[in-house]
């Protein structure tokens, strides 16, 4: 199912802008299915059937992913539950090297005969591809781990929470927004459980259980007389957590001009506040275009990090493997080899991390059986590394993969996907409030909005949810029609302050798209509030 078919199925039209990146999903399954898991002994048997069949057909390397992917989407608007969609997808994907080339095939027929035939098909495809081979695949060495497992450290499995409890929460959120003066609200809960089993001819048998959650909403306020409307989206983040994310805790709230959330989210409070703010937005002053110092909250900055740091440091993009779709990268190998490419100001330290608890990217092992890691991408403003996988690691002189391989489902071939990429907090003690005190002419932006960046990741434009004007160290009121345009290197060099660790929070994308056929992946980006000086702000108001 394509994203937009899903949008239509879910009854969400163009207004649901925040859901522009809805995923490919599996087959819907009934709500009351017990959330069983497949016995690991059975998975090993099936995996061995594939490994043996591929080897006998001439594969020199094989990996097998047996996946059971569960999704639950609850979709409401105003006082109605519009749809509850449960999906399950169970099957096997087999990837081989034969004749020096990759081949891949998958099936949802989970008997040993079908699996053996699928393995043979993967080998046949590899041999076909080998006809056009220029350089044989070179895999970074990876020792087998034997039989191991990893589970996401969740406190409450969201799939065990009764559907009614989840739907009631969304309806109470809607009620709060409508009582607060909103005309419309759509609220949504997306839950994901990936039960993944990986086996390879290197001798790994890895069983993993991964959970993700994303509660969100969009509030709309209309002024029929003028024909104007404004929206305000939730300030939640998608997380690699269980239902505990939706159990609010005062210690996880950051109170200020708007309440922001750390590791627990108060959806009701955010809806109440959102309803009031969307009313304020209607009356807000339209921004005067020009240069401003921007104070960017982590609920906003994550997307700028994602687009301007996460994507250009993907090695496959740098090498040209994504040239036909997502694009290439301005961070060419010569810039990395020079060891002094000035990506940002010396304050800018950015890490890749597949181990961070509660993040969307956290797993024990990636989808080619490599243990996950943490490493520097930008160190004191200088480009020092990329993100890569087994068949490209040698290109940057690594003798191991960085564990960035991922496939969205059993039916999709795994490839390089972004780990969590995060801006490190500032070293000295600094709060966002203190940061704002020193700004003469600026804008504080919270929440993610419109986003666009070129195919080599130089020129970007971002909007947000809430814009507050700063004058002489004080927030003086709300602005609207704001977007900023910059160039990646210029922007990160204008980073003049980063708040300390106590302000660090994760944002992220549930549905990051890449590849052909396009695959979705989930990834987090952490930061503390940061200041960027003299950024170009445009006014986006138009009349039709």
């Amino acid at each position: 199912m394509k994203r937009r078919d899903f949008l239509q199925m879910a009854g969400m039209g163009l207004g649901a802008g925040l859901l522009a990146q809805v995923p490919l999903i599996g087959n819907a399954i009934p709500i009351e299915t017990p959330w069983y898991t497949i016995d690991v002994t059975k998975k090993k048997e099936l995996a061995d059937a594939a490994l043996n069949a591929a080897r006998s057909k001439g594969a020199t390397y094989t990996d097998v992913r047996i996946g059971r992917y569960l999704n639950q989407f609850i979709i409401t608007r105003e006082d109605k539950v519009e749809n509850i969609v449960n999906t399950e997808s169970y099957g096997i994907g087999i990837r081989v090297i034969a004749g020096g080339s990759w081949g891949f095939a998958s099936t949802d027929k989970m008997d040993k005969d079908s699996i053996a035939k699928t393995a043979a098909l993967a080998v046949a495809i590899a041999k076909e591809n080998a006809r056009l081979l220029t350089t044989p695949v070179e895999l970074a060495p990876q020792k087998g781990y034997g039989e191991v497992s990893w589970k996401a450290p969740i406190e409450r499995n969201a799939f065990d929470v009764p559907v009614k409890e989840k739907a009631d929460l969304l309806l109470s959120v809607n009620d709060a927004a409508l009582k607060g003066g909103a005309n419309y609200i759509g609220s949504y809960m997306f839950l994901v459980n990936e039960q993944k089993y990986f086996a390879s001819s290197d001798g790994s048998y890895i069983d993993q259980d991964i959970h993700r959650i994303w509660p969100t909403f969009q509030i709309t306020k209309i002024d029929a007389a003028t024909g104007k409307f404004e929206t305000r989206n939730a300030l939640s983040a998608p997380r690699g957590m269980g239902y505990e994310y939706l159990m609010p805790r005062e210690s996880d709230k950051i109170k200020g001009v708007t309440t922001l959330y750390r590791n627990r989210y108060d959806m009701l409070e955010d809806a109440r506040q959102g309803a009031a703010q969307v009313g304020e937005k209607m009356k807000a002053k339209s921004v005067e275009p020009g240069k401003y110092d921007l104070i960017l909250d982590p609920s906003h900055l994550w997307l700028t990090i994602h687009e301007s740091v996460g994507h250009p440091t993907e090695l496959d993009r740098v090498l040209g493997y994504e040239a036909n779709f997502a694009g290439t990268s301005f961070l060419t190998l010569d810039k990395w080899q020079s060891k002094n490419f000035n990506f940002g100001s010396p304050l800018v330290n950015i890490v890749a991390d597949k181990t961070q608890p509660g993040s969307l990217g956290a797993v024990g092992y990636d989808d080619e059986g490599v243990g996950t890691q943490k490493w520097d991408l930008i160190k004191n403003g200088v480009l020092v590394n990329y993100q890569t996988i087994r068949d490209q690691a040698h290109i940057i002189g690594l003798n191991h993969s960085q564990g960035c391989c991922y496939a969205q489902g059993w039916g999709d071939v795994q490839f390089q996907r972004m780990p969590n990429v995060s801006l490190q907090p500032g070293a000295g003690k600094l709060s966002p409030a203190e940061m704002i005190k020193n700004v003469e002419k600026g804008i504080f932006i919270a929440g993610d909005g419109s986003f666009s960046i070129d195919q080599q990741r130089y020129n970007f434009q971002f909007g947000g949810q809430l814009y507050y004007e700063i004058k002489n160290g004080q927030i003086v009121g709300m602005l609207k029609d704001v977007a900023y345009q910059s160039n990646t290197q210029e922007f990160w060099n204008s980073c003049k302050a980063i708040a300390d660790e106590s302000d660090y929070r994760l944002g992220g994308s549930f549905f990051d798209g890449k590849g052909q056929p396009s695959q979705s992946s989930a990834v987090s980006h952490g930061s503390s509030t940061a200041r960027f000086n003299g950024v170009n702000v445009i006014n986006t108001a138009r009349k039709i």
């Binding site: 937009r4 519009e82 039916g411 490839f415 130089y458 020129n459 138009r542 039709i544």
Partner: protein, 444 residues
């Protein structure tokens, strides 16, 4: 197994419906099989085949519905999926917007299925790629491209006796060629029901010519320019607007189709009179679905007629609320063009920019449908009717509604693919005045 014949699908759906005790029950089947091959750096990177089929059952008691889906098809699995849909329906809250299922109807067939496309093999995909790579190598360029073919069927049946069935085939090809210095890039995209219309060699030649002629681009100041959008650029820009041709969001006051003071813009002259946009599932160059999920037949429908908003889509529920006839969401979109060739459009331009392709278009403001995005893969400066030189890429901030008010001329309509959804459209190249570029990009 993934592609059932009409009789097989009908028999399976009838069996499913016979298991239901609900007030109303609808069952639908969807299956597809196909394959893809991806290449980069003049070599194949990945390739695969996939085949899937799934059954979805919606059971309703009163106004309470539940949906369950399964990808197993033995009798016990079929009984289980019905039972689970019914259990869920009993648990579900009442949906005040539930509309009763519709009874039998006749649906004409559009020729979406072509045998030759269904017969594509891994071998023929690899062959198409080999030919494309050879063209790129000859032009001293690196090719990255993608070929995907899909054969699919959809069938639906319900307890009121409705049955509909369709099959389709689709093949999509996209190609990017770049020079080794990274200073020139070209692109082409093709999408057809019939693989016999796909020529990967000529498409790669076009991409190669763009790559070689776009090298050494000069920077010119951003601002308002007359632009000529090639069909692939125009398609991507307009696709964002086509999805908003909906009455409900307009009536609710939250769409670019909302009218000041309430209601929608039906009957309003919203665009230049050269603009006519319609849908027609029976158009021979763009066959599409002839029925929708609610069980309505799709016919030729005008959406924008000489710039006037002629129709907006009404769901069954919204039509009932507003006391009008339902208007199904279209399954394809066709924009009428003119007689001019692309060359003639260029020749008639005193000063302007030729845009080969647009990239990363996102909504900035839903109120005005303001979009932002960038040019890519061949942007050229035109002076006195001739292409003078390539220019560096721009970021634009523009609304397709404003753009279609500023139409200077339209070329001949041709089949074009959206580079984001991979859906095909019939769209002309178009010359637009006062298109707003807001900054420069160093990207190639």
């Amino acid at each position: 197994m993934a592609i059932l014949k009409q009789e097989e699908a009908k028999a399976l759906l009838q069996k499913v419906l016979s298991y239901s005790k609900a007030d109303e029950c609808e069952a639908s089947l969807r299956g597809s099989e196909g394959g893809n091959i991806r290449y980069a750096r003049n070599a194949i990177s990945t390739a695969g085949d996939i085949s899937t089929m799934s059954l979805s059952v919606t059971a309703t008691f009163g106004k309470k519905s539940g949906t369950a889906t399964i990808n197993e098809f033995d009798d016990s699995a079929l009984k289980r999926v019905v039972q689970r849909a019914e259990e869920l329906a009993r648990l579900a809250p009442e949906n005040p917007e539930y509309m009763p299922l519709r009874g039998p109807a006749e649906f004409k067939i559009a020729k979406q299925y072509i045998d030759a496309t269904a017969a594509i093999t891994p071998d023929s995909r690899a062959e198409a790629v080999a030919n494309s790579i050879a063209v790129a190598k000859e032009a001293n360029l690196e090719a990255a491209g993608y070929v995907e073919n899909t054969t699919g069927f959809n069938a639906v049946s319900n307890s009121k006796g409705l049955f509909a069935y369709e099959t389709s085939t689709d093949v999509v090809f996209t190609i990017t060629t770049r020079n080794s210095a990274g200073t020139g890039s070209g692109f082409a995209a093709r999408g057809f029901n019939d693989v016999k219309k796909l020529d990967t060699v000529s498409a790669t030649k076009i991409a190669a010519a763009k790559a070689n002629s776009s090298a050494a681009a000069k920077a010119i100041e951003p601002g308002k320019y007359t632009v000529i959008l090639e069909p692939v650029a125009a398609t991507y820009m307009l696709e964002n607007m086509f999805r908003g041709l909906d009455a409900r969001s307009a009536d609710e006051g939250r769409s670019f189709m909302s009218k000041q003071g309430g209601g929608n813009r039906l009957g309003e002259q919203l665009m230049d009179e050269k603009v006519t946009i319609y849908s027609d599932p029976f158009h021979p160059d763009l066959p599409a679905s002839t029925w929708n999920r609610e069980g309505f037949p799709l016919e030729k429908t005008k959406w924008i007629d000489k710039g006037v908003v002629k129709n907006l889509a009404y769901s069954q529920y919204w039509a009932q609320q507003k006391g009008v006839q339902p208007v199904p969401t279209p399954s394809n979109i066709i924009m009428e063009g003119g007689d001019a060739s692309l060359e003639e459009l260029i020749k008639s331009t005193e000063r302007g920019i030729l845009v080969s392709r647009l990239w990363y278009i996102r909504l900035v403001d839903a109120q005005t449908l303001l979009l932002t995005g960038l040019t890519r893969d061949g942007t050229f400066y035109i002076e006195n009717g001739v292409i003078k030189h390539p220019v560096k890429n721009f970021r634009f901030n523009e609304s397709p509604v404003i753009m279609l008010n500023n139409v200077e001329a339209l070329g001949k309509t041709e089949r074009s693919v959206s580079i984001e959804s991979y859906r095909s459209y019939l769209i002309p190249p178009m010359k637009i005045r006062d298109f707003t570029f807001t900054s420069l990009s160093d990207a190639v």
